[in-house]
């Protein structure tokens, strides 16, 4: 056994007390800051639930067709969504989709600027990369507890936990995409007297877009994989059904809700991937990367 050099009890107490202090004094501030997130989630959820089921099926199937121009993906999307409807999971699926979309949107707003900043400064990268590693390896329950303590159980901590878990790949891929641009192209752009903003919006982002989209795709997938955990702290949706199935030992309930999550994952994964490929082909980077 490792020798007992340090008494960890006071240290742990200090951490716990500090958290309690933060909850007491800053809890309100945090909640106010997170309010826009909650608004976004609620509006999205209400919108998705208010939209007729056939309109959503039509939209996603149409999108699948636009992205691939073949009948296979639209057929898979159609069958999957009808399955969700038949299994009486439509409302839960919409709640889960709303959570996933708001987490992804928030992650995009945070991650892309952060990725851009990282690509520009080595020092920022030295700080951010370990932070991202931490976010991805720390078990989600560890930060779930303080978030729940600060915000109370509900949708906000669920959303925040999902964002923390899902944002890192987008930051990394934004950084990677920007740094992967041919320096000769950047130099030529510079030689014509462009401003840094013109280079970012006119050259870097367009050329990194396929990579950034791959990051968005990963973020949606990771957000979906968090729904069961998120439902433990009040997110509702399909994850909650899975949780209840486990709790009541109702295998069928857990199984069908779980399949519902898989369907959503397939639908969003395939559609975003196909869109990304289409874009890549249009820019012509597919061949250039070889």
């Amino acid at each position: 056994m490792f020798p007992d050099v340090l008494d960890t009890v006071p240290l742990r107490r200090a951490v716990d007390d500090a958290l309690e202090w933060v909850v007491m004094h800053w809890g309100g501030g945090f909640e106010a800051a997170a309010y826009p997130l909650l608004m976004l989630l609620n509006i999205l959820e209400r919108l998705l639930i208010a939209t007729p089921w056939w309109a959503i099926i039509l939209l996603l199937t149409g999108l699948a067709w636009l992205a691939t121009r073949t009948w296979r993906l639209p057929a898979v999307v159609l069958v999957g969504l009808v399955f969700i409807g038949l299994m009486d999971l439509w409302r839960d699926a919409m709640a889960t989709t709303a959570l996933m979309i708001s987490a992804t949107l928030a992650a995009i707003v945070i991650s892309i600027p952060l990725g851009v900043w990282m690509a520009r400064s080595l020092r920022v990268r030295h700080v951010v990369v370990p932070l991202l590693d931490l976010m991805q390896t720390l078990p989600s329950f560890v930060y779930l507890i303080p978030t729940v303590m600060i915000f109370g159980p509900g949708k906000i901590p669920a959303l925040i936990a999902t964002i923390v878990y899902a944002a890192p790949p987008l930051v990394r891929l934004t950084d990677l995409g920007l740094r992967g641009i041919d320096p000769a192209v950047m130099e030529a752009s510079r030689a014509f007297g462009t401003t840094p903003a013109q280079r970012l919006l006119g050259v870097q982002i367009p050329l990194a877009l396929p990579t950034i989209l791959a990051g968005v795709n990963q973020t949606t997938m990771m957000a979906l994989s968090m729904v069961v955990v998120a439902s433990m702290i009040g997110a509702g949706g399909l994850g909650y059904q899975v949780l209840q199935g486990i709790g009541r030992l109702e295998v069928s309930r857990g199984l069908f809700a779980g399949l519902g999550i898989v369907v959503l994952a397939i639908v969003f994964d395939r559609i975003t991937q196909a869109l990304g490929k289409r874009l890549q082909a249009r820019i012509g980077l597919a061949e250039m990367r070889i």
């Binding site: 000769a184 007297g193 462009t194």
Partner: protein
């Protein structure tokens, strides 16, 4: 040729030195103390890109910098529009110190004063050919209709009509290079930097482009800093040539100065394989002084290859200045002597 006594310089470089590496100033100090470039590189990992380069480029000239691969040509040309900051030295363009410009001034300078053709093309892969050609005008703030019209015209000039909507990756290397050329020429700046602008072209198109460049320069009086590793090309288009080796200027002069009087063995090696009949102009080898008018005459800018056929029927050929007055004469002996000098030893 210029009427003014004091020459009018478009670009001046004074003792420009560029060292690549982590601690360039320290390395510069070591270089000044007499350390060799090879030692500097092997001991501290610093590469000397340019070594004490001083050049004066007159307005309206085609100034060619030539040297072997890795001699620092691209590094040199990038200093003019400050894509690279020198480790030491001064650079003046149009009488303005480039190194003292702040970022906003530098952008304005790049938008209006100097433009560049890149060795690696540097085309924007996500933009069509016409949008690439219009790119510089777009950053300058030229309206869409105007810039598209100018771009379409230059695309036609470089022989790519019909490819306006293609993407760069759909073009061959030589075609891409011509897009880069059109993009720079569309800017219509007084100073054009061309880094191996013709190197990816096939001989026929290349020769056509060289002729076009010469006529463009004659019509518009542009100052062109042209980089090449091809001595024949340098001789054909250059008003003046600088030879670069390991980042240092070996010789600067008119084409015939370099062909007739190479400064060292390195340059002699270049000269050996060159078509001297094309490089040497009659002006520089003619016999001056009073002589009777010759039956047949050529302009003083004529090349040896132009007069050679005339010797079949004439002993002497006159040389005329711009006004058509005979200023000298030339015979086959002089031409043969000039061509034979520095020829490789027989056997």
């Amino acid at each position: 040729m210029s009427q003014q006594q004091t020459a009018d310089y478009a670009i001046r470089m004074r003792k420009v030195t560029k060292i690549f590496g982590d601690a360039p100033l320290q390395a510069l100090e070591m270089l000044r103390q007499g350390k060799s470039k090879a030692d500097l590189q092997s001991e501290s990992g610093h590469v000397v890109g340019l070594d004490d380069v001083s050049l004066d480029i007159e307005r309206g000239q085609i100034f060619v910098v030539m040297g072997l691969s890795g001699s620092g040509k691209s590094t040199l040309v990038r200093h003019v529009n400050r894509l690279i900051d020198p480790t030491g030295g001064e650079i003046e363009v149009d009488g303005v110190d480039v190194l003292k410009m702040n970022l906003a001034e530098l952008r304005e300078f790049r938008r209006s004063k100097v433009t560049m053709v890149f060795q690696k093309f540097g085309l924007l892969p996500h933009r069509s050919v016409i949008d690439n050609v219009a790119y510089g005008l777009e950053t300058r703030g030229v309206g869409k209709a105007d810039r598209m019209q100018a771009a379409a015209q230059w695309i036609e000039t470089v022989g790519l009509a019909g490819y306006e909507q293609s993407l760069p990756r759909q073009l061959s290397g030589g075609q891409q290079q011509r897009v880069g050329l059109a993009r720079a020429l569309a800017m219509d700046t007084d100073i054009i930097l061309m880094d191996e602008a013709f190197s990816a072209l096939d001989p026929l198109i290349r020769s056509g482009m060289q002729d076009q460049l010469l006529s463009l320069q004659q019509q518009l009086g542009k100052t062109i800093l042209f980089i090449t590793h091809d001595f024949d090309e340098a001789l054909k288009i250059g008003n003046r040539i600088a030879v670069l080796r390991d980042g240092a200027v070996q010789q600067v002069g008119r084409p015939e100065d370099i062909v007739l009087r190479p400064a060292n063995a390195h340059i002699e090696e270049f000269v050996r394989d060159v078509n001297k009949a094309r490089a040497i102009r009659v002006r520089s080898i003619m016999e001056t002084g009073p002589a009777e008018a010759c039956e047949q005459a050529v302009a003083m800018d004529a090349r040896c290859e132009d007069v050679l056929p005339l010797f079949a029927d004439h002993q002497w050929v006159g040389v005329l200045n711009g006004q058509g007055v005979q200023i000298g004469r030339i015979t086959a002996r002089q031409v043969i002597k000039a061509l034979a000098r520095y020829a490789p030893q027989a056997g």
